[in-house]
């Protein structure tokens, strides 16, 4: 047998939501279905029947000879399972027990670690997550370019559900739409701008979803190694003084992360196989997903910007940028501390995106993609080596907390790679905004459907949430939380009684010797409305679950 060094994945065996960002391909309408398996046999029949509808990670192309390619579908669908679903489907007990504890416990049980208290407490979650006789077993996500295609796929899945004669049920009346009407699904969609064009913005007005991890086995078009990978151990950095990790705009500064950080059955950053259920084929090419519905208190956010922005020297937009670490147009503060520079690069990126959207011929598409990549690297290719004290991008800014990009290492010579402390905490981000909002919206249905995909929920999503978003010790920020996503203590408890010691603070370091600014009284701007932990099986495992032939012995 001959070997080579390049990682090659069976993209047809890996579910598509793991390696493809459907929203980036214009699939900006989404629907999430929550199902319970009432009968094991009919549940397995359902799993077998839905398999042909599952979208894989194969890239979309018109080139029939592409060994990694398939034609673009009219709609995508992906399926994942909770621990109780696997139990109901008859997975052997030895296999069940081989899954990680946090997955078996689920999001509700892990609320103390996630900081889901007060308004985020599970007792305040949507009914589908919060009713004793309801148990979410399967999550099916559908994405499409338009509602017609989405509805068509939805109806196909509904007919498969109907064929189970009650063996699988779609939760009925467990969710509420924007008008409070009960519905059987959660919809999400890109938010339109004033001209009615879809944008990548969420309800606070930030351009979202810019940076995602880049790992071995990804093909061109699946992501960007610049900023998406890890700091290249072969580039400058190891054994050299802190601050010297190479120019972040260059591809040579970065290297793809190991596949096993995101997909089971492959080598990870610890140079071993990630913990995987038994038998290994059950886990291989699968992953774990966190589904989390995050409500956004848009009115509170805007009040905060108005009040504190009037006092903060950088003004309202400056304050918004310091919270996130990017201008609301997406330009990163580390490279574009000046608002005008940020606006220029954001306009260039928008123009490149427009060219991508209107490109028709293969040549036009290739040219538009190349132009976009050239501009976009300024949005992804940055680090904090020239900003170690946070004068440009605060240490507590959201994007710096969730991906410190090598800025945590005190002595880079001590680590295998210059970004070692972040490399094992990366997550693939999926999801779209839901609902519509006005600048004053607090109550109501609007926020983000947030999904995090990783090999290890405990080490990746839970750690980032607990230690980096809801705590500040690693950044020498004591108990300061993420201003945007932190679980700041609300000023009132659930009965409306005032709470003392509201803890929402943020230090914005001054740049070039200027004094810092202290933001206080930050309210809880994001609240959890429900969610759970899911296993995304490979297509092979899906087939084996349907046939009940998984044998751990």
């Amino acid at each position: 047998m001959s070997t080579k060094r390049e990682t090659k994945l069976d993209l047809f065996d890996i579910q598509g939501n793991i390696m493809q960002n459907f929203a980036e391909k214009g699939f900006i309408k989404a629907r999430y279905l929550f199902l319970e398996i009432k009968n094991g046999n009919r549940g397995r029949e359902f799993v077998t029947k839905i398999k042909p509808l599952i979208t894989t990670s194969a890239r979309w192309t018109n080139d029939a000879s592409d060994p990694y390619g398939t034609t673009e579908p009219s709609a995508t669908s992906n399926i994942s399972f909770t621990y109780n679903a696997l139990k109901k489907l008859g997975l052997p007990i030895l296999s069940l027990h081989s899954f990680p504890d946090e997955f078996a416990i689920g999001m509700r049980g892990r609320r103390a670690i996630l900081g889901d208290n007060y308004s985020s407490d599970p007792e305040n979650w949507d009914p589908v997550w919060n009713t004793h006789d309801v148990e979410v077993h399967m999550l099916i996500s559908i994405e499409a370019k338009n509602m017609d295609n989405l509805e068509e796929r939805y109806n196909k899945i509904l007919s498969l559900v109907a064929e189970t004669n009650g063996g699988v049920i779609l939760f009925d009346g467990s969710l509420k739409d924007e008008d409070g009407k009960e519905i059987t699904y959660q919809d999400a969609h890109a938010l339109d701008n004033e001209a009615g064009q879809p944008t990548a913005k969420e309800h606070f007005g930030y351009t979202d979803g810019i940076s995602n991890p880049y790992f071995k086995g990804m093909l061109p078009g699946m992501g960007s190694v610049i900023g998406g990978g890890k700091k290249n151990p072969k580039a400058l950095g190891i054994g050299e003084p802190k601050g010297n990790q190479g120019n972040p705009i260059l591809a040579s500064t970065w290297a793809p992360l190991e596949t096993g950080e995101f997909i089971l059955g492959h080598e990870d950053e610890a140079q071993e196989y990630p913990a995987c259920p038994t038998p290994p084929l059950l886990g291989k090419n699968g992953s774990f997903m966190v589904y989390r519905k995050l409500h956004e208190n848009v009115g509170m956010f805007n009040d905060m910007l108005e009040k504190t922005g009037a006092d903060y020297p950088g003004g309202k937009e400056g304050l918004a940028s310091k919270f996130a670490g990017r201008w609301r147009n997406g330009a990163p503060l580390a490279t574009f501390p000046n608002e005008e520079d940020g606006k220029k690069i954001a306009a260039a990126r928008e123009a490149a995106q427009y060219k991508q959207a209107v490109a028709k011929t293969p040549e036009e598409i290739a040219a538009a993609n190349a132009e976009f990549e050239e501009v976009n690297k300024h949005f992804t290719g940055f680090d904090f080596q020239k900003d170690l004290h946070g004068g440009k991008c605060p240490l507590g800014a959201h994007i710096r907390r969730v991906n410190p990009r090598g800025s945590l290492e005190e002595d880079s010579a001590s680590y295998n790679t210059p970004s070692a402390l972040a490399d094992r905490r990366r997550i693939i981000r999926r999801g779209l905004p839901y609902g519509t909002s006005t600048p004053n919206s607090n109550t109501g249905e609007h926020g983000i459907i947030f999904m995090a995909i990783q090999a290890n929920i405990k080490r990746q999503f839970e750690f980032v949430t607990q230690q980096w978003m809801n705590y500040g010790s690693d950044f020498k920020l004591a108990n300061e939380k993420d201003a945007l996503l932190g679980n700041q203590t609300p000023d009132k408890d659930k009965d409306g009684n005032p709470i003392e010691n509201v803890d929402g603070t943020m230090v914005i370091p001054g740049d070039d010797g200027k004094v810092p600014y202290f933001v206080s009284q930050i309210p809880r701007m994001i609240e959890t409305r429900g969610g759970d932990y899911f296993f995304i099986p490979s297509l092979t495992t899906l087939e084996m679950l349907g046939k009940r032939i998984i044998d751990p012995t």
């Binding site: 070997t3 047809f12 042909p52 080598e267 092979t540």
Partner: protein, 214 residues
Amino acid sequence: MPNRSTSKNSERAYGLSIYCPIKNEHEGDVSFTSLVRTALQDFKEDEDSPMAKVPNTYLARFFIVDDVIFESFPHTNDHLQSAYLAFSTNFHGNLDEYLTGMYENMNTKIHNVWQYCYGFEKVKDAASFIAYIKKVQVETSYFFVGSNDDSLPEQLKSLYLKQEFSKFVFANQSKSDDELLAAYKEFDARTKPAVLEGPTWRAGAGSLKNVNKG
């Protein structure tokens, strides 16, 4: 069967191991590797296994090698250029006869499984199957140790007789000589120790139920 130092034929038994590269292609949205796996998972088990119909098979195993196992630090990142279908079988007799019997008894299944492998399109009959297998054969040294080198019918008959004779002993241990002789004659007439065709165990029997239906 004792360990063989190589896969070369011995007097009475043979150990064959082959690794067949699976094409890096796909049919619709399913990779060839998954199609091979599904074809194998669709095999029936025990007496109904297609391998049970292949004369003189002691033990056979199919599996898929997706990639080489990563052996942790310090390491080099080696990967296979394709997945491989691995097939290992231990049998009585010589290779050509065995493969002919295999092709004659399960050629539909053979084509179902192997159609996704490089070079298999040349296989049209038993002779070309033999030529293909010899091309992908590898030398190995560890084989199933759990049988002597007798033919499968002889081994199945022996197992059957051992089982039946145990029952005979339990049932007749306190009888008189005459009674015992009569019982033994009945045993001999029923089990036909010299007749390999039956009654005997069935090839592939996975439990003692129905093993001696010939």
